[in-house]
Amino acid sequence: MEVYFIHLGILIGIYLILALSLQLALGYTGLINLGHIGFFAIGAYTSALLTLNGFSFLFAFLASGFIAMLSAIILLIPTNKLKGDYLALATLSFTFVVYALALNWNSLTHGPIGLPGIPKPYLFGIHFSSNLSFLILTVIITLASYLIIKRIIDSPFGRVLEATRDNELSTRILGKNTYLIKLYAFGLSAVFAGFSGSLYAHYITYIDPSSFTLMQLIPILTIVIIGGIASLRGTIMATIILILLPETFRFIGFSSSIVGPMRDIIYALLLIIVLLYKPKGFYGNVELE
């Protein structure tokens, strides 16, 4: 039973980092990024491949954030001029491209077979092999991520991000280079998504392309919108509730093969309902443009 709660705790941590980082790009900077799962995937595969090839966890973890950031920059540079739904589509295509590469680049990612046997983290002399120790690691990384993101949001830079979201032209007219601002925000958002991917890979110890599809984006998107655009507090609450809620299905007695899709249906339904009836979310004050 205890193991179960530890498992939930770790999941909440991983999803929270993903949700907070999406909130940074989407909620605060106004970048309609539907490709966030792509960064998650890149982080997971980078970390897994590096550690499987003998590199240290610390190096792999940092590299996963770095490579994710690089891909974000590469993605944003050509798409900068795209507006609203076209940007959404370009980022959406990014998710599919990453998935397709993961599925087909057999020499690198082993395709549909995936990468088994990803080692547990070994960091500063501690082997994080037990679930409890992994939970502690997750909590530390999640807390650090939250604090860094909050620091950015509360600083004058955070104000510029929100200005860019609200009115990019106005921000430029005040002499600020919004292209650079967006690059920073997008890159940072990807770094944390990459870290989250690394944590995921080393927790589950096996990854394959099926964990990184559009389907996995829905819960994150739902969390960000339900919690409220540009509300960190809302994101935290929404993550906890949305992770815990479907778990009740296990106790009602549904079979395991149903719980997965059932959970996805709940998330999708919630997303649609929130968009229809409470587009500002529960803690947000800003509407998605």
Binding site: L34, T79, S93, M215, D264, A268, L269, L276
Partner: protein, 291 residues
């Protein structure tokens, strides 16, 4: 030489299928002006309905086909009624409509998983697909049927849009909704009908795809990517563009896997889509998106 011809024919067959997907989608897009991603789910679900009616309940094939197409139409109509119409009332942006449609797509996909399971299904109508051979090129009767049907459908569609009163109303709303309303055209009615007709075309696509390929729960998503890529390549907002793009995509895809491993077939569509979004979002025919 016959290899090139074979690839070309395969490309045309694929293109015919994609054009059915893309034209229904394009009709909906040009009228409603947002990207109805859930169109793929309409196709997937209808294919599974056909499977259920024909292969499980063992209904008469023609009856099953008709019911499936009606179902498809109805599903599209309901999506508009329950979700899109309500969002429009709240002046939702195109981004929100897109996100909602992605939500609907995922919802239906999961529903298919629960109802039918993850394993591959086949509609076993034609037990033996013995290929015919023309000039060294293999093609099955079903495939010939697909190409013909799609061309007929598209021709019929073209005349409908150009000549019928309703087709004109649709184009009016598509060009300028406010002016259309002033002259008495109900835009909500037009939106509704665009979903009914567009989804019916999706239903036809579902039948043919279901017969030609296997059914998987995620087929909706990948078909939607292809359909959408086709529409963008040709020029979104124009149904002719969607058809043109569809055939081009089919041909490029098939020639592509002549050189790349076949697993990359889907990836080709995604990558072409991505490139077009960046370099030429108005597509080959260069249709202006929205004024």
């Amino acid at each position: 030489m016959s290899i090139i011809l074979q690839l070309l024919v395969n490309g045309i067959i694929a293109g015919a299928i994609y054009s059915l997907v893309a034209s229904g989608f394009s009709l909906i897009y040009s009228t409603n002006k947002f990207i109805h991603f859930a169109h793929g789910a309409v196709i997937a679900f209808s294919a599974y309905v056909l499977y259920y009616l024909f292969s499980v309940l063992e209904l008469n094939f023609v009856l099953a086909v008709i019911l499936s197409i009606v179902f498809a139409s109805f599903l599209g109509y309901v999506m508009n009624l329950l979700v899109y119409k309500q969002l429009r009332k709240k002046h939702a942006s195109y981004v929100i409509l897109l996100i909602a449609s992605v939500g609907i797509l995922m919802l239906l996909q999961s529903l298919i998983l629960i109802l039918f399971g993850a394993d591959i299904k086949t509609i076993g109508l034609i037990k033996i697909t013995k290929g015919l051979q023309f000039w060294g090129v293999f093609i099955t009767p079903l495939q010939i049927l697909i190409v013909f049907l799609s061309l007929i459908l598209l021709a019929g569609f073209y005349f409908f849009m150009k000549k019928s009163k309703f087709g004109k109303a649709m184009r009016a709303v598509s060009d300028n909704r406010d002016v259309a309303e002033i002259v008495g055209i109900s835009s909500e009615k037009v939106y509704s009908w665009s979903f009914i007709i567009g989804s019916a075309i999706a239903g036809v696509a579902a039948i043919l795809i279901g017969l030609e390929q296997n059914l998987t729960p995620t087929m909706g998503t990948s078909l939607m990517i292809k359909g959408f890529a086709a529409a963008i390549i040709g020029g979104i907002g124009s149904t002719y563009g969607a058809v043109l793009g569809a055939f081009l995509l089919g041909i490029v895809e098939n020639f592509g896997i002549g050189y790349l491993p076949s697993g990359y077939k889907d990836a080709i569509a995604f990558i072409i889509l991505f490139i077009f979004l960046l370099i030429r979002p108005q597509g080959i025919l260069g249709i202006k998106r929205r004024s």
